[in-house]
């Protein structure tokens, strides 16, 4: 009972945040609502007993990505959308296409997973230690690859930002 109520609360927060982030007219408000949606998602992970993922979601998305979005909005242009302008994208079918593709991927992988129709024999509870051991043993190569990619992206960003005006 309490669990269902908590789920409804978290789901409502996530959905309301996401809808508000798409519809509000002020970009800073949109960014903050997106942060609220991220926090709701973190709460949903926590409710599924995935502590590590939940906290990491909060740390990365609310603590870093939301701040990054806010910085980008402030550094590029004014946050207000002018009254005549529409908030809708000029090419809505592109968004629809991407959405349908992502949904298809998710549904495909869920249907293909062997655990779908099997009742779990025990409550799966991944401790931080198990996650760490998996990351450092079985999945160490993907982890290192992601690290390398991120470093390359970081260097690329620095190179782009470093373009200095030619000396006179």
């Amino acid at each position: 009972m309490l669990n269902e109520f908590a789920f409804l609360l978290c789901a409502a927060l996530t959905l309301a945040g996401a809808v508000a982030a798409m519809t509000l007219r002020n970009l800073v408000h949109c960014a903050l609502c997106a942060a609220g949606a991220f926090a709701g998602l973190a709460a949903l992970y926590l409710q599924l007993d995935a502590q590590f993922v939940g906290f990491a979601q909060f740390l990365v998305y609310v603590g870093a990505i939301a701040i990054l979005i806010v910085f980008t909005v402030l550094l590029t242009r004014g946050a207000e959308i002018r009254p005549g302008e529409s908030t809708a994208s000029p090419a809505p079918w592109m968004g629809l296409l991407v959405g349908v593709l992502v949904l298809a991927c998710l549904i495909g992988s869920i249907v293909a997973s062997p655990g779908l129709f099997r009742v779990p024999s025990q409550t799966a509870r991944a401790s931080v230690q198990q996650i760490g051991e998996q990351l450092m043993n079985q999945y160490v190569l993907p982890l290192e690859t992601i690290g390398l990619l991120l470093t390359a992206a970081l260097l690329g960003a620095v190179v782009i930002a470093l373009r200095e005006p030619p000396d006179k």
Binding site: A35, Q51, F52, F55, L59, V62, A64, I67, V70, S127
Partner: protein
């Protein structure tokens, strides 16, 4: 345990934390003003009550009864929400700190991750406060604060990594338990008594000072430059909430430093274990708070470029080197004779002190070229 009993225990824990750290806040404000006064050769507050001890009460009453002014062009909702978003998560951070033997409200498997995740919400709150005020000083202050918090969060988290690596756990109770053994003369094996622990402790303290916007890193509120930064348009109770949030953030960081490096609630010597564990925690906590006040009275404020360079070119590389020192300490853990211990220490110290010196020299290096002003000349 019945459901009602569990709920009563929770209420007890929550009330305990709120009462103890709420009164800590009041005590620290008066202690800070008194100590600052003493260090600057003046009296400090001395009008309300004996030796001015009732000053926090008077300040609190004044804050509550003051008019709450919201600027006409401000974003009313965000202006109202910002102090709450800052203060509420910080209370949550106290839930995972072990204040004494069996005295942590919840023992999370990933306690330290929870602590830092909760702490990251304060950046958003500061931005909300600065942006919603529609005041250039507020916005400049908020941007400074966020740049500072992001820069110093990296060394803050990195300096804790050696502790996690050597304790082999993210749970704060396990980290305290790992520091509970004793060596010669009953001296406790606190992390701060190792080369990587000492370096990590200092790095953590510096980063924590910056994260809680305290002098010498108080640029976001630099009174002589931008009035009060993101607090400019706040008054009355909302201002008090920001103040509370800032001090609570400092307390949480201090409690974290005690837990990670100063052995948590353990006594420094095995023959002192009869003193209650929460008292040890309180003594270490108070000593660190005094240190923060002392630093505030001593050091002048940094410039913004000095601040950012100090983090990225000094603290972050040192934190990475410190990881290596911790690894060396771990590999040589079999060296238990006294001369071997000495070599171990010298090795660790050399790894840290030499880069410290070189990075410090590089930081001091040639000044950047004079700034070109496009519109001001």
């Amino acid at each position: 345990m019945s459901g009602l009993h569990q709920i009563l225990v929770w209420i007890g824990e929550i009330t305990g934390i709120i009462v103890v750290f709420g009164s800590c806040f009041a005590l620290t404000t008066i202690a800070e003003r008194k100590i600052l006064g003493r260090m600057q050769n003046r009296f400090g507050p001395n009008r309300v009550g004996p030796w001015g001890l009732l000053q926090p009460l008077a300040d609190g009453l004044k804050m509550i009864t003051k008019e709450d002014i919201v600027p006409f062009s401000a974003d009313k909702t965000l202006h109202f929400l910002a102090p709450l978003v800052l203060t509420v998560p910080i209370w949550l951070a106290f839930a995972v700190l072990p204040f004494g033997r069996n005295m942590s409200a919840i023992d999370l498997d990933a306690g330290i991750l929870f602590f830092f995740a909760i702490g990251s919400a304060s950046e958003l709150a500061v931005f909300m406060a600065g942006w919603s005020s529609q005041n250039k000083y507020s916005l400049v202050g908020a941007m400074r604060a966020i740049a500072q918090m992001i820069s110093y969060e990296v060394p803050l988290v990195l300096s804790t990594v050696p502790v996690l690596m050597l304790a082999g756990s993210l749970s704060l109770n396990d980290i305290v338990a790992a520091q509970g053994t004793h060596t010669y003369l009953g001296l406790a094996c606190w992390n701060v008594f190792t080369p990587w622990g000492l370096a990590g402790f200092l790095l953590f303290l510096i980063a924590a000072t910056a994260e809680s916007n305290r002098s010498p890193f108080d640029l976001p509120e630099g009174e002589s430059e931008i009035i009060a930064g993101f607090l400019t348009e706040y008054s009355g109770f909302k201002y008090a909430l920001f103040f509370l949030g800032e001090y609570l953030g400092l307390f949480a960081m201090t409690g974290m430093a005690v837990t990670l490096f100063l052995g948590g609630w353990h006594a420094p010597f095995s023959w002192l274990e009869w003193v209650p564990s929460w008292l040890w925690f309180g003594v270490k906590f108070g000593a660190l708070i005094f240190l923060f006040i002392w630093v505030r009275a001593t050091l002048p404020r940094l410039r913004l470029d000095q601040l950012l360079n100090f983090s990225w070119r000094f603290l972050v590389p040192l934190c990475l080197i410190n990881l290596l020192v911790a690894a060396v300490w771990f590999w040589t853990r079999g060296w238990n004779s006294v001369p071997a211990l000495l070599i171990r220490w010298l090795l660790g110290a050399a790894f840290i002190v030499l880069p410290w010196h070189w990075l410090g020299q590089a930081l001091r290096g040639p000044l950047p070229p004079p700034r070109k002003y496009t519109y001001a000349e």
